[in-house]
Symmetry: C2
Subunit: 201 residues, 2 copies
């Protein structure tokens, strides 16, 4: 802990900023100073936005999304396809899919992936709740939009096994060359998957 | 501007976080999500700390430091050497010197350096105020603790010229090998300065 050089109010701000992801002790000091310099235009509005977020944001009990209402805006959206559930690891993945606009269905946030190393077991994830939601009448397809990592794929297999008794269509995201990607920079696994799943031109 | 995928409260938080130094749009989203996940332990305390900072922090009219009082804690500290003024470019430099504990005097924050390229002229800095403070009875030495950059050294020369009529001792920081530094990684200018200012062993 470096020596306190500014007043306690500034030191506290620096200390809390340093706990934000992506900011270390040094960059937290720089950030604090920049914020103080922009007191009116940035620090005060940010304080308000954080206070509002801290007070109002809740986790949707159905899908695990974060929003100011429970059920969340997505769960309440009647225009979304009620036959499909998109399973994601984290809210950030939900946001990424929403930005893409690729699917207009509801989501299910698992809250992580199974990991023997980190001691994450099925009961730590919302898999039981997923099975319950998938059992609802009308649900026909579960899209597993999990990360293409070892833990992500292990989780996908486990979720598939859990859902099997329901007899639904279970799909996963396609593997292949990212749009705009250069072959030279891709790993062999991706290239192999892209060749195997090649499509007619 | 990416499509809004979360509610307006979260989007506003992401947008404001993205204006913080060191955070871009993508890392702002990640930071927002982390903050929301740590609502009780990080987001709420940070909101409070920012609100307090925004409400209470002022710029010291004497030295340019930021603090919750004006004059600042350093200017009011009677135990500090009243004969010396340490001239720095920015509050961050003042903090750095205070952390080092190298000098127990008062400071003068110039608020930047002269720069023809950026259109920073002497009247944009607090040089006139420095001359006024340096003219006070009892002041004997001015330490120019400016960055060893071209603009920093240009500013040092200009300040020296402005202070010359007062007949004070004007000093600047020594150049040399940083403590813990390896010669192999230092530039020729630093090595030349270190050789020239070599001291008896």
């Amino acid at each position: 802990m470096p020596q306190a050089v500014a007043g306690p109010e500034i030191e506290r701000l620096i200390q809390l900023l340093g706990r934000m992801p992506g900011l270390g002790p040094r960059s937290a000091r720089r950030a604090a100073l920049q914020l103080i310099k922009k007191r009116e235009t940035l620090l005060a509005p940010l304080a308000d936005a954080m206070r509002i977020a801290a007070d109002r944001i809740v986790v949707c009990h159905a899908c695990g999304n974060v929003d100011t209402s429970d059920p969340c805006t997505i769960c309440r959206d009647e225009t979304r396809d009620p036959t499909t559930l998109v399973v994601v690891e984290d809210v950030s993945d939900l946001w990424a899919l929403e930005r893409s606009g690729a699917v207009k269905a509801r989501y299910h946030v698992l809250g992580g992936v199974l990991s023997a190393l980190d001691g994450v077991r099925p009961e730590h994830l919302t898999i039981a709740l997923l099975v319950e939601r998938a059992s609802a009448p009308g649900v026909k397809e579960i899209i597993l939009a999990l990360n293409a990592t070892v833990d992500g794929q292990t989780t996908a297999h486990y979720v598939t096994e859990s859902l099997k008794p329901l007899g639904l269509t279970i799909t996963r995201l396609a593997h292949g060359v990212p749009v705009g990607g250069e072959l030279d920079y891709l790993d062999e696994g991706t290239l192999t998957a892209a060749i195997r799943s090649r499509t007619a031109f």
